[in-house]
């Protein structure tokens, strides 16, 4: 890769997008490579700045999640119950292990050196990718969950798992034998997405009811007092709100502000500390299925892909937009205090 890229045009659409719904997309921690998983059974690797498809990897079923290991390999979670490792340069994938039901989420923990997967079979599994392939060698542990796993997020040594039935489990990766905390979501409806703050103090949880809850790990009163929830991704119409699910949350790696994407097709950027919305991007053609900031926070990838929240219907083609991010859109604005009396 040359070190000089032309600055990406805001909101550029990537060419060769997946042919069916996009389930997730992620930027690499090392470059502008973007890994995209899709219902068309492929995982695609793009160079987002150069707008080039670098690789396409077929799977046995729709792929629900993907993550990077490093710039040469990544992992994928598929509806065919299998967890796979993908070697980008060799252009092939191998099976790391399997669940008893579709695998919904996958993360790689640098802290633990393990791949963590959550599935609709109500378990969480940890895998050691250095083991030879074959489930017996790679599986580190299986951890039952109260319900089907819908979303996972990692920060440092902490893992947050959100399941159906609004359960949330917080684990310490160093001791997975039981959750560090067992909670119920503070929102009232189905959880869609959970993401940990980059500073490791808590997590944001979004639901189908157009709300996001900001929670903290520390159970002390002082910390728990800071938690709150806010409404977003709603449209007011004839006195009632149309309440859209919030599908995706992505934290800006530098500023700690975060973007949310919903089925209304909008992406909003929020300042969690000051409880303000910083920006709203113009509406995308259809629901926003996934969001990801690049490692340096310069780029935001948006998967504009109908998520089936209204069943099978005609919809805009699935697309990936990569936009460059202006500081003003994501930088928190500190509160201005009135001048003290002279």
């Amino acid at each position: 890769m040359t070190s000089v890229h032309p600055p990406p045009v805001p909101g550029r659409e990537l060419s060769n997008p997946p042919t069916d719904g996009i389930s997730n997309l992620r930027f690499s921690n090392h470059s502008d490579n973007l890994l995209v998983s899709s219902w068309d059974k492929t995982v695609r690797l793009y160079d987002a700045s150069a707008n080039v498809l670098r690789g396409e990897f077929m799977h046995g079923g729709p792929v629900l999640d993907c993550c990077f290991h490093d710039d040469s390999s990544g992992f994928s979670a598929s509806v065919d119950n299998k967890v796979r490792r993908i070697m980008f340069s060799h252009g092939k994938e191998e099976i790391l292990g399997r669940h008893d039901a579709p695998v919904r989420c996958i993360e790689y923990s640098y802290a633990a050196g393990q791949v963590i997967t959550g599935s609709w079979d109500k378990t969480l599994k940890c895998w050691d990718p250095r083991g030879a392939s074959g489930q017996e060698r790679t599986l580190v542990g299986t951890y039952p969950q109260p319900e089907r796993v819908y979303s996972l997020s990692l920060v440092g040594n902490r893992l947050v798992v959100a399941t159906a039935g609004r359960h949330v489990n917080v684990y310490d990766l160093r001791n997975m034998s039981q959750p560090e905390q067992r909670r119920e979501s503070s929102l009232k409806y189905q959880t869609r997405c959970v993401r940990c703050y980059p500073n490791g103090t808590g997590y944001a949880l979004s639901s189908v009811e157009g709300r996001v809850a900001m929670e903290f790990f520390d159970l002390s009163e002082a910390s728990q007092a800071k938690k709150y929830a806010f409404k977003c991704h709603r449209k007011s119409e004839a006195g009632r709100d149309i309440v859209y699910p919030v599908n995706a949350i992505a934290f800006h790696p530098v500023y700690g502000t975060f973007a949310t994407g919903g089925c209304d097709g909008f992406v909003n950027v929020w300042d969690g500390n000051n409880k303000k919305r910083l920006y709203q991007y113009s509406k995308y053609p259809t629901s926003v299925a996934a969001l990801s900031f690049s490692k340096d926070g310069r780029l935001l990838a948006v998967a504009s892909s109908y998520t089936f929240e209204e069943g099978d219907k005609a919809h805009e083609p699935d697309a990936i937009f990569v936009r460059s991010v202006n500081e003003i859109e994501v930088k928190p604005k500190p509160k201005v205090y009135p001048n003290p009396p002279a």
Binding site: G21, S23, W39, P62, L64, V79, A101, P102, R104, W120, K122, E147, R148, Y150, A164, G165, R166, Q181, R182, R183, E184, S185, S186, L187, K188, Y189, Q190, R192, S207, V208, E209, G210, R211, A213, E215, L219, E221, A222, Q224, A225, K226, K227, Y228, A229, F230, K231, R240, D241, I242, V243, Y244, P245, C263, T307, F308, E309, E310, G311, D312, K313
Partner: protein, 396 residues
């Protein structure tokens, strides 16, 4: 305290993070409401009985944000707690719950909880209907049976691969959606079949209340323990929708509590509605049958026999029998059966909720298919596909 003009809204909700530094007045404005102890019916009732130096029970400690507020009017904290449980308008901005792991909400004030539920359903029905629900944040779900759109989509893709026609996929999925909607409706009418307050439900209700069977809204104001008669009404409502929706034929409607299994085999669709209404009846799915309709129907005859033996020991059977009795109850409007209905219902509901949580989860992705609500978006309906239920709000 500084004197500023206005009262601090956050403080009144119990969540002011500034404490004494706050530039608004930390006072509880209780003028529109009755005095502090008039809140006896509400959540703080248990706190008033143990006035401790902090002025409120264990629960409020966490909300006071450290020692700052302790020095303030201690008695007012009781009111804070109360008031926020009464003001259901902005649940998202309410005071944070204290212990994330424990849920301390007991529906001590069913009125306000019902109000919360009604407001939620009125203003904030999400677009995605196949969701679980809890009326109190951090509490366990009141309505279970969560399905995510990915699961629905995966099931649809699977079904399509197996060669199922789009028609039947739509059909089965529509049933799921309808049953979920019915579940929500019934929960709205009778929130106390399952959640924490249901300990009272196990008592035999006063038969006198059954005369108000057909007016569900008035039911709810009878008493917290009146959850049992309302459950009759919820089934009555269900029966009403059953009649209008399916018109299965006179056989269902003319049965009485003595039980005639054949009535159910006539109306496969009605059993589907039952599976909606009575969450426990989803146990039918777990009995290994592919078609939800058939499994529910099949188990009815046996369960009815059991029920007539008044075997209350097996909760699973109770649930079906309860559901079974319910249609008959409506049809015949017999007064004796409500007593049976109520007892078995309350037992079964409490048990069934936990039991089915798992089973629903296992079975839904496989038995249910795609095309959520697409039926409403079609331009032209072919015969046989015209939905019988009213469209969900999103499509009105």
């Amino acid at each position: 305290m500084h004197n500023k003009k206005e009262a601090c809204r956050n403080f009144q909700r119990g969540s002011c993070q500034y404490g004494e530094r706050c530039k608004f007045l930390h006072v509880i404005q209780q003028q529109p409401k009755s005095n502090a102890f008039g809140f006896g019916t509400q959540a703080i009732s248990h706190q008033q009985q143990k006035p401790n130096p902090f002025g409120f029970g264990v629960q409020n400690n966490a909300q006071s944000k450290g020692a700052n507020d302790f020095g303030n009017k201690q008695s007012q904290f009781k009111n804070t707690w109360t008031r926020s449980s009464a003001s259901s308008g902005a649940p998202s901005l309410r005071q944070p719950d204290n212990q994330p792991q424990a849920t301390n909400h007991r529906c001590n004030d069913p009125e306000s909880c019902k109000r919360i539920i009604a407001e939620d359903f009125e203003h904030e029905r999400p677009l995605w209907k196949l969701t679980c629900y809890s009326h109190w944040k951090n509490s366990p779900c009141d309505i279970v049976g969560d399905v995510s759109y990915e699961e629905l989509r995966a099931a649809a893709y699977d079904d399509a691969k197996r060669g199922l026609s789009l028609q039947s996929i739509i059909e089965r999925e529509r049933n799921l959606l309808n049953s979920k909607l019915v579940e929500f409706e019934n929960f709205l009418r009778n929130p106390y079949r399952g959640p924490a307050g249901s300990a009272a439900a196990q008592q035999i209700p006063f038969p006198g209340a059954t005369t108000t069977v057909l007016s569900p809204t008035t039911q709810n104001t009878v008493a917290p323990q009146s959850n049992v008669p309302p459950s009759v009404s919820s089934f009555s409502q269900l029966g009403a929708s059953l009649n209008t929706g399916f018109s299965p034929g006179p056989s269902v409607q003319s049965n009485n509590a003595s039980g005639q299994p054949t009535s159910f085999s006539n109306s496969a669709q009605s059993s589907n509605v039952f599976s909606a209404n009575n969450v426990p009846s989803a146990n039918a799915f777990s009995f290994g049958n592919q078609q939800p309709n058939q499994s529910v129907v099949a188990s009815f005859p046996t369960n009815m026999a059991n029920f007539s033996n008044s075997s209350a020991t097996n909760p699973a059977i109770n649930q079906f029998s309860a559901a079974a009795i319910s249609t008959q109850n409506f049809s015949s409007s017999s007064i004796q059966s409500p007593a049976f209905l109520n007892v078995s219902l309350s037992n079964s509901e409490v048990v069934g909720r936990e039991a089915t949580n798992v089973q629903l989860g296992n079975n839904l992705p496989t038995t249910v298919a795609s095309g959520d609500s697409n039926i409403w978006l079609k331009e032209k309906w072919t015969p046989g596909e015209i939905p019988e239920e009213a469209p969900p709000d999103a499509y009105v």
